[in-house]
Every structure is written in C-alpha cells, then in structure tokens.
C-alpha cells in the first residue's frame, strides 16, 4: 500500500472534510429527520457497522477515509440519539468513548502520545472497516450470482437415479434340514424321566421271606429268597427289599442272620417259636 493509502494524506483529508460536510447534509438529503436517523440504529449491527456506513458516506475509497471526520460523525450521531433520550446499546457508547479518546490523542502533539500511537489505532480501525466493507461487497456479489432457484433452475421433477441393491439369498435343502437337525440336537430336552420299574415292596418281601422261612429250619441264603426267573431289575429290587425284610424279622426275634465273611453271602434261619 502506498502513502496514498495511508489515512491522512493531504488530498484525502481535504476530500474527507468536504465529504464530512456533505454528510451533515445527507440526513436531510435522504429526507430523514432526526428521529428516522436514530431509528436506523436498530438496523446497524453494532458500532462497526454504523462506522462503516458513515465512512461510506464520505464517498471515497475506504482506504482514504478520514478517521477524524468519521469520529466526529459518529459522536454527533450518538449525541443526537442521546438528545432524543433514546437508549443506546452499551457497545455503541463504548465505541463512542474509545473514539473520543482516539480523537484526543490524534490531536495531541506526537511526542506526548502513548503506545500504541493514535495513528496505529486509527489505521487499524480503518483496516477493519476496509475488511468489513470488502466482505459486505463480496456478500452482495455472491447473492447477486446465478443462484439456483432464482436465476437458474434445476430439473423440475427428476426421476432420480436408483441402485436397488438386491440380495439374492442362497440356501439349499440340505442346509435347511441340517439346521433343523442341529437345533433339535442342541435343544433336545434334557428331561429325566423315571420309568416305571418292576419292584418288590417291603411288605411283599416281608410276607414272602417269613413264608419261606416257615417251610424249613435250615439256613438259607438271602439270594434263595428272590423270585427265581424274574427279570434283572426286579431281582435287584427284591434283593434290597428282602434284605430289609430279613433285618426286620431278626429285630422281631423271628429269624437269625449269619455272614461268615465281609461281603460274603448272607444266610438266614428261622428261630423256632417257643
């Protein structure tokens, strides 16, 4: 950027001053009275927005605006709004205070200025306004482009492209039957059924043993008391109940029991009744 671009180049200052005067008249030119002027505050999104608008009214390149004129315009503006006793958003007042400070330091001799210098602050304000201005202009051009639905139109009723992804499932009879077999085998109910078994009850064993003991006085093996041709399961049951019957008869003093060896055959004999 050249010296021209800097804020306070001679012709800029002169031009800006003229523009500033011009601006004072703008409110009238635009047939705004004070009130209308204020009411526009709502339309500005914050102080920077208002500043940009004021700067544009200087009708010069944003690079050449007079910050000093801009400050005056802004402060005037805030004054007018204040005179109407309208409430101003805090950020407008903060900006006003900051601009008043900026103006005062700009008017001070250079060597009394603090850091950052007034020029730096002013230049940065100007750079910000340029950037906002550039974006606003860009937004305008963007919106002015050939927009779909306003300037260009898409196909009214497109059929649409469709890829129907269809899955062909494959399975065969064997797999089906195998699967059922698998399920059946896996879930075969683990039911424990007690089957009816041939048994000899204790009562019948008691009767049978005491009856057979009554036939002879000799020792008999327990095994001899079992039904001779019974199926194996009945024999096992008879063995158990006959053993208990023998014990019962011995307890009643009607029989005696003998066993020579451990696990040897058990023998049984009637005790003669006195």
């Amino acid at each position: 950027m050249t010296a021209d671009g800097l804020l306070f180049a001679d012709q800029t200052a002169a031009g800006a001053a003229a523009e500033a005067d011009d601006w004072d008249g703008i409110a009238a030119d635009d047939t705004r009275d004070n009130e209308a002027l204020y009411l526009e505050l709502d339309g500005w999104e914050g102080p920077l927005d208002l500043l940009l608008d004021l700067a544009r009214r200087q009708k010069v390149d944003l690079r050449q605006i007079s910050i000093l004129a801009l400050v005056d315009q802004y402060l005037d503006y805030i004054d007018q709004a204040g005179a109407l006793r309208l409430e101003l958003a805090a950020d407008y007042l903060v900006m006003a205070a900051w601009l008043a400070y900026l103006k005062s330091t700009m008017l001070l001799p250079r060597d009394e200025q603090e850091d950052p210098s007034a020029e730096e602050l002013a230049l940065k304000l100007q750079l910000r306004l340029q950037r906002l201005g550039a974006m606003r202009e860009a937004a305008g051009r963007l919106m002015g482009g050939d927009r779909i639905g306003r300037d260009v139109f898409l196909r009214g009723n497109p059929e649409g492209l469709e890829i129907a992804r269809k899955t062909l499932w494959r399975c065969d009879q064997f797999a089906l039957l195998e699967a059922y077999g698998r399920v059946k085998a896996r879930t075969a109910p683990a039911v424990h059924m007690v089957r009816e078994r041939p048994v000899m009850t204790l009562d019948s064993a008691l009767e049978r043993v005491s009856h057979m003991l009554g036939v002879t006085l000799d020792w008999m093996e327990l095994r001899d008391f079992l039904p001779p041709h019974a199926e194996p399961r009945l024999r096992r049951s008879a063995l158990a109940s006959s053993f208990v019957a023998a014990l019962e008869l011995a307890r009643m003093g009607r029989a005696e029991i003998a066993q020579e060896d451990v696990f040897g055959p058990m023998r049984l004999r009637r005790i003669a009744q006195k």
Partner: protein
C-alpha cells in the same frame, strides 16, 4: 437455436409436470401457440437420438430419459449371499412348526433371534407374516411361502422329512460340540432304533453292575 426454442427447452426442463403447447405459450408470455408447436417439434427432433427425449403424451410435453437407457438408471445390483447359519435355523424352525411366533422360534432354538434374521428371511421371500396369534400380546406369527417350497424343491411342507427320518440320515447327530458328541456316541450305539430305544439301552447298560 432460436430464443423461443431455448425458452421452451428451459421451461419444460424446469417444469414440475408435463405442459401443453398452449400452457407453454402462455407461460412464455407473448409467444404464439403455433410457434411454440413448431419449436416443440424441432426440439423433439433434436433430442430424438440423444440420451434424453422430448416426448408428447396426451398433448402434454415433457423430457424423459431415452427408454433404451432405462436399465442404466434404475439398475439393480444383485449380489448372491449365503444365508447365515442362524437364519437357516430360524427358517427351518418356521418350516417345521409354522405358523410360529418369534418367541416360539426362540424357545425352540434356545437362543434369542434378532429381528434382522426374520427380516432377511422375509426379504428373501421365504417367510411371511401369517397373522397374529389370539393370545395375550397378540404376537405376530410367521409361516413359509410358496417361494420357499419352490426354492427348496419341495412340493409341500409334508415333504419335509420327519424327526425319525432326520435321525436315520444322521442329521440329528450333533457333531460340533464335544459334549454333544459324547451324547451322540451313546445314542449311535442304539444303531438307528426308534425314539424309545435309547432309555432301554441305558437300562441294559445298567445290568453290567
């Protein structure tokens, strides 16, 4: 290409529905209906061999894609996939027990069945919803379809082999599971005898004691 033809082309392209020549003429402002008709015929000719055709249907004109390209625009990509093990089991259970609710399938399988599995079977066209069971909760019940019989080469569900036949072909012999193979070891000793045989065998073994 004249301006009217361009305008007709654009208007028909952007239109939501087919338009008559008269409607076009009035839409395009001061165009004469005759000129519009001429324009339409020229455009139709221009598009005649292209991928898009301008066609008249019952006096109304619209663009449509060339009929010979229809297969490109609505293409079906078919992929063959093997039915998963779980889905095959569910299908078999439905086939053997239909109509059957999902809860019943699960209790037969002994495993929870994801809804996706039934979806797959219905997508395949082998299973359909066959109503609801009139019990509390009115669960949906499923059954197989004629396509199912077709695909599996069955003329009716009665063709499905019974349990005894499955056992005879060894299909009830679980082979995967170590525990199950133990059990099946005992069972196969039964040598293909009936359902009742197995407990009998067990008691025979008992006599060894």
């Amino acid at each position: 290409m004249n301006e009217l033809a361009r305008a007709i082309e654009a208007a028909l392209f952007a239109a939501d529905e087919p338009m008559t020549a008269d409607a076009l003429a009035s839409f395009l402002g001061d165009a004469a209906a005759g000129d519009v008709r001429t324009g339409l015929r020229e455009l139709a000719e221009h598009y005649g061999k292209r991928g898009v055709h301008l066609v008249e249907r019952g006096k109304r004109w619209h663009f449509e894609t060339a009929p010979d390209l229809a297969h490109l625009l609505r293409r079906e990509k078919e992929q063959v996939r093997r039915l998963s093990r779980a889905a095959t089991e569910v299908l078999a259970i439905i086939a053997y027990h239909e109509p059957v609710s999902r809860a019943e399938v699960e209790s037969i399988r002994g495993v929870q069945t994801s809804g996706g599995t039934l979806d797959v079977l219905m997508e395949a066209g082998w299973v359909k919803i066959a109503g609801r069971r009139e019990v509390p909760g009115r669960p949906v019940i499923y059954a197989t379809t004629p396509d199912f019989l077709d695909h599996f080469g069955l003329s009716s569900r009665r063709d499905l082999p019974g349990i005894a036949e499955l056992r005879a072909t060894g299909l009830l012999d679980p082979v995967e599971d170590a525990y199950e193979s133990l059990v099946s070891g005992a069972e196969s000793e039964g040598g293909g005898e009936g359902d009742q045989q197995a407990p009998q065998d067990a008691s025979d073994n008992d006599t060894a004691y």
